[in-house]
Symmetry: C2
Subunit: 487 residues, 2 copies
Amino acid sequence: MEGELKPMDAEQLRECAHKMVDFIADYYKNIENFPVLSQVQPGYLRELLPDSAPSRPEPLQDVLDDVQEKIFPGVTHWQSPEYFAYFPSNSSVAGFLGEMLSAGINMVGFSWITSPAATELEMIVLDWLAKALKLPDEFLSTGQGGGVIQGTASEAVLVVLLAARDKVLRRVGRDAIGKLVVYSSDQTHSALQKACKIGGIHPENCRVLKTDSSTEYALSPELLSEAISQDVASGSIPFFLCATVGTTSSTAVDPLPALGKIANSNGLWFHVDAAYAGSACICLEFRHYIDGVEEADSFNMNAHKWFLTNFDCSALWVKERSALIQSLSTNPEFLKNKASQDNMVVDYKDWQIPLGRRFRSLKLWMVLRLYGLENLRAYIRNHIELARKFEELIKLDQRFEVVAPRNFSLVCFRLLPTQNDVECANRLNRKLLDAVNSTGELFISHTVLSDKYVLRFAVGAPLTEERHVVAAWKMIQEKASALLMNS
Amino acid sequence: MEGELKPMDAEQLRECAHKMVDFIADYYKNIENFPVLSQVQPGYLRELLPDSAPSRPEPLQDVLDDVQEKIFPGVTHWQSPEYFAYFPSNSSVAGFLGEMLSAGINMVGFSWITSPAATELEMIVLDWLAKALKLPDEFLSTGQGGGVIQGTASEAVLVVLLAARDKVLRRVGRDAIGKLVVYSSDQTHSALQKACKIGGIHPENCRVLKTDSSTEYALSPELLSEAISQDVASGSIPFFLCATVGTTSSTAVDPLPALGKIANSNGLWFHVDAAYAGSACICLEFRHYIDGVEEADSFNMNAHKWFLTNFDCSALWVKERSALIQSLSTNPEFLKNKASQDNMVVDYKDWQIPLGRRFRSLKLWMVLRLYGLENLRAYIRNHIELARKFEELIKLDQRFEVVAPRNFSLVCFRLLPTQNDVECANRLNRKLLDAVNSTGELFISHTVLSDKYVLRFAVGAPLTEERHVVAAWKMIQEKASALLMNS
């Protein structure tokens, strides 16, 4: 490249970005050569980089070399086919292209006027996705509701909690905030607890209802009813229920129809968190998992998990967008414009925490168009089938047990203890996790269910094939054998 | 391309992404041919797109054609050299490359372990930037404080407000939340008001202190002192002060040293919002604008505004990271890991609202390295010089006045009324704004200062050159002449 890099120049951008494309394509070509879970020690990078920013420009090649030599060793490779931890966070060709385009246009779509296409494409694409999920019409943007892309499921549950909080406080008076009660199961994502802290809901008013294997870790409608009755009797004000379809620990499915009825008859805002499992519900045979969503006030699924849309893209639908807007709108003079003042448009700034927002609908639109719903269904089915095979392999080895039902593409399992000692079993499985992950050859994570330390194997990376699942199982078996021999 | 697009395939990614690079480079090559402000009508896009997602994949070329024909007309081109509205939102070659790489790696860096490099590079690069801004050492990650990348300044002020709220409530008891008082000027960004709503601070406890031209729209320390004294006398609890360096309406600069002393002697959390103007403070001659930042508890500047880092990248520094963590941490079993449990690492999930986070430090690192601080300073100085020239042009035309001092690269001006009638003048300037923006040849925005409707001309797009500023002024003059002739 001739001369120094300009702040922006079409031809310099072309030249450098082509170089970056090859760098990233090569990354994917070689991704199996990296340890999946980074094996660096805390503080490793500070020793490798200078103390302050350079005064003079450095060549792109130097930066790319540093990425290769200094950054990549510190990356945990979520896109590796051997990544089975937490939940997946899909990158795809289409999702990546959408991110590129969004970064290229680089507009800030807080109000309709700041790029009408960004707002309108988001409305349209979330309608598309709502239809693919067969969500009730009230969630479509053509009525009183609509969809919006949040950054994460945490932000999704926060904004609806705030909408619900303010709705009830308008009725009972804001000094009653200390009486507001939130309901969920002990399997609900910690994002709810965080949202409550942020919104000033008192921690002891968060009813974390106990689950166990008798309901397959799903929230019991009877427990919920009882809790609400007790709270009402004691003068508290129940106002929010969060149900989960596909809990983080074990993909448990809360019974939406029964829970929804209770929520509605008690005037609770009913939020359904299907952050991970929502993607599967585009397949007819899995759609029943969200039966009952008709009763919900809001529904959330993360396209950035298992739907080939690069992070971040969390799709939230509400039936009553005015509740969100009443809680979250601001209208400073410097943002006023005719379209907004005349109420002719949606201004997504009033549906979210931040003001600014990226053009995230582009990537979801490109995923839906470049793959098409049929291929997306096949993609999901393939992962579920791979998880089923992994589960079968476990069942063939009597040293192991499957701890919770496999509903989607997550398998919860553990190595059985030699004696019937919970603590001993937990230690054993913790050691097994460490042994497996420290090889760098695969990455799995853990949880605790009914005091049992459990290993989680989540299939869902776009590059994962049957051979990776089989090899992973073989490695887990080997490490288990070694551990049992030495214990 | 042979066959259908796979979810992820290195060679398909290479081929498609090269195509996308050329598409985006061509966009920048032709960016002056688009109307800067989109001229579409509300609802335009729904008529152009199908009602539902396709079942079968569509070719990339079809999508690119649709972007060109259907999306671009609805885009307001923030990267156009004729964009002078709001504040800039810089895209750059380096920032774009960083976004590409981040989307390519597509990891979710909530905890250190999920990609140590993401956390560590963020700590290092924010230390670099803190040093370039000559922030006090307490803001460096090597002590009790540190920097973190938030999505926006709204999230930055929210997280520190929550930290400050919870800190004082731990002392006075949470039932005193109705007594907590927040201070700012009437020029403070609406993000503070929104943060207060979210955090449950009562709206009537938000002291919005009046400013006027006598202080050049800066917050008066005397007014602040009086307000605090009154509140203390009436039993309220002052706890948070937000000062601004470079307000949104007119880039007013609140006097940090005096305000900081008052905040500290009264035990208030002192937040400094330099979202826009912070970038200028890497230049020695502008650094004095943040003199007094030593008194602040937190400091925020948006690298995504005027620092060549693609949206989003809002840099927040705090002196006491434990306050953030106490408010925002969660520790569910499924995220536990040795490095976190042993307190050996930073887990940025506990410094922000969402759980998941992108690898945003890559783009800031690339901006700092590929341009270097000297060129970044020259970049800022050039925009300030262009704004100064625009201001001079205004002063040569007696039909106009400059309404507020130009501190950085924003010029606030208006067409003077023919009679001394405020309403008439406001109508005239509103018409001038519409006339100018509806040409599509440039985009400026407005505000209101002391009841005067004021036009804002913010220089800061990476492609803006002197010729664009001169042409913009000529166009504004022409539209003014036409308006005056017809009025």
